[in-house]
């Protein structure tokens, strides 16, 4: 039982990290209808920028500078890619974000170098042992993961408040519901997109910090976008709670399958397990957990 709990907790924490990346995807999809494949590349770019800036300046300054860089990136994407492509089909925009992915990956590595960098923000690394009284030997929890979970949770709460309570958040939701209607009541679409891409960039920075301090800042960070995709379709493209819950389900499912199913059918199944899980789920609920139900009329 103790072991089961350990796997479960490990899964939940991995899931929170997936949710962090998925969150960026959902934000952008909600506000602009763009399925942003470049989120993973943005995670890599943000983490690389932070790591290299930290060599030259203290941490708070570097964080601030990275946020500014992400803002500039968001501005450039909005101005150079999204604005000319407005009103194009979703698949075209998706392809454009694939192009952005390539561009950012190449550009980031030219600008900041392509080695593996160690990111150390002084996050405690000692594993904790909890529930020693209940189970024999207790349950092992990585404090790094715990920290990540707390950060992710805080971020979600902040975003939820931002979306529900602030003026900009309400404008964002209006744009998400209907571009044209939002524009006709005087919401500036271009500014909204800029804000949303900046927020997504900052979410990418947080994800980059946490993933980067676990794995080191390296090219493979870019690939976690592929991990976040099943999370998003499981939770529903348009739902922030969906991204969180989807991440948890995928995280737990992945760890459970690796531990309990993996040995029977050969290892390495975590690459496709999440996708298959999401796929089976979609067969029952085609819009994901919390996605908006789409009704077609002829």
């Amino acid at each position: 039982m103790g072991f089961f709990l350990e796997v479960l907790i490990g899964g939940v924490m991995a899931g929170v990290l997936y949710s962090l990346v998925a969150l960026g995807l959902v934000l952008i999809f909600k506000a602009s209808g763009v399925f942003n494949f470049a989120q993973g590349a943005m995670v890599l770019f943000a983490a690389l920028t932070l790591v290299r800036l930290m060599e030259k300046m203290p941490l708070p300054l570097a964080l601030l500078a990275t946020c500014v860089v992400m803002l500039i990136l968001a501005y450039l994407i909005e101005r150079l890619v999204l604005r000319p492509l407005v009103n194009q089909a979703g698949i075209t925009l998706f392809m454009a974000t694939l192009g952005i992915t390539f561009f950012i990956e190449g550009f980031g590595q030219i600008l900041w170098g392509s080695d593996i960098y160690k990111l150390d923000l002084g996050i405690p690394k000692q594993p904790l042992i909890i529930l020693e009284k209940v189970f024999d030997g207790g349950v092992l929890v990585s404090s790094e993961d715990l920290f990540a979970t707390v950060v992710a949770g805080a971020l979600v709460i902040v975003l939820a408040i931002f979306f529900q309570k602030t003026r900009i958040g309400r404008a964002l939701r209006a744009v998400a519901d209907d571009h044209q209607a939002a524009q006709s009541v005087g919401i500036p679409l271009n500014q909204i997109w800029l804000i949303v891409w900046t927020v997504a960039g900052i979410v990418a920075l947080v994800a980059g910090i946490i993933w980067g301090s676990r794995l080191g800042v390296q090219f493979s960070l870019s690939l976690i976008a592929l991990k976040a995709l099943p999370v998003v379709i499981l939770g529903g493209f348009t739902s922030v709670p969906g991204a969180i819950l989807g991440g948890l389900i995928i995280g737990v499912g992945e760890k459970m399958s690796e531990v309990y199913l993996g040995p029977h059918i050969g290892g390495g199944i975590e690459n496709w397990f999440a996708y298959t899980l999401a796929l089976l789920f979609l067969l029952v609920r085609p819009e994901g957990l919390f996605g908006e139900k789409h009704i077609d009329r002829v």
């Binding site: 075209t92 454009a96 390539f102 190449g106 590595q109 690459n271 496709w272 979609l282 009329r297």
Partner: protein
Amino acid sequence: MFYREVGQFKSTYAADQVIFPIRQDRYFVWAVMAFAFLGVPLLASQYLFSAILIPFLILSLAALGLNLLVGYCGQISLGTGGFMAVGAYTAYNLALRIPELNPLVAFVLAGGVTTLVGILFGIPSLRIKGFYLAVATLAAQFFLDWVFSRVRWFTNYTPSGSINAPQITFFDFTFDTPLKKYLLCLGFVTVFALLARNLVRGRLGRSWMAIRDMDVAAEIIGIRPLYAKLSAFAVSSFFIGVAGSLWAFVHLGSWEPLAFDVNRSFSLLFMVIIGGLGSILGSFLGAAFITLLPLFLNQLPAWLGIPMSTALISHLEVMIFGALIVFFLIVEPQGLARLWRIAKEKLRLWPFPY
């Protein structure tokens, strides 16, 4: 005045149903075919065959298959690489385990097996649409990747997981030189392009397009989505399976599961989008563009005489590639085939003002 259909009367039903109804198109296609079959073998070098023409032809075939699914039926698929792998490994295992089987027959059978796999992974398309489907097809990609790298039977228990394809012989004729391989691929591509062209203007293709344009409306006028969607998956997978077996046997020779990873799927989707969704010609233009671009970018620093480290070149290549993709999408979101159509439209009057 060069592309006028004025004066071309159709007086028989056969004339009304020809593949290219306009005479200029017909001449043009014949000229291209003659050049590909006769001109290119005389002119091209060994390098041109094996580095550019053969990959271009095989990828065109795969892009053509994908275009039938994405461009004509509107079902986005990101599992193309996986389906190519199915074709490659099926052909390999057929050739290995039934030695008397002709490899060319094995290619077609590999296409058949890929069809079955494609139908299986096409079933979710009956429930889910759009991006949900795109991500769902990634499940096929990752699952197939995993199967071919983990299940040792498929790779005949080779320790490294990489396999060598046997030579392709047709009775006593061995396809060993690049020229012969090129002609083999060209033959396949010609037959399949003809097949695709006829499929999309027939009943099946029309039902695909109806589903693409609006599936609910199509269902109401009596098109069965189950039949239309799964047949699109089936036909498309058949094309892709054959392309996969050719890619493995003719182009690569020896390969690892990595040869068919998710990047292959993305690059094929790029070809289809940049070439033009729902256009046979577009598949070829897109394949040519995506095949040539990296080669061109690779050579560019050397031509310009700027010394650069290889790491910088490869990063720069990726960066320019991405930027060009975005650029092309902005300039012509409907693909290169649309530019071709515009050019033909202009040629109706040009050089006269009206």
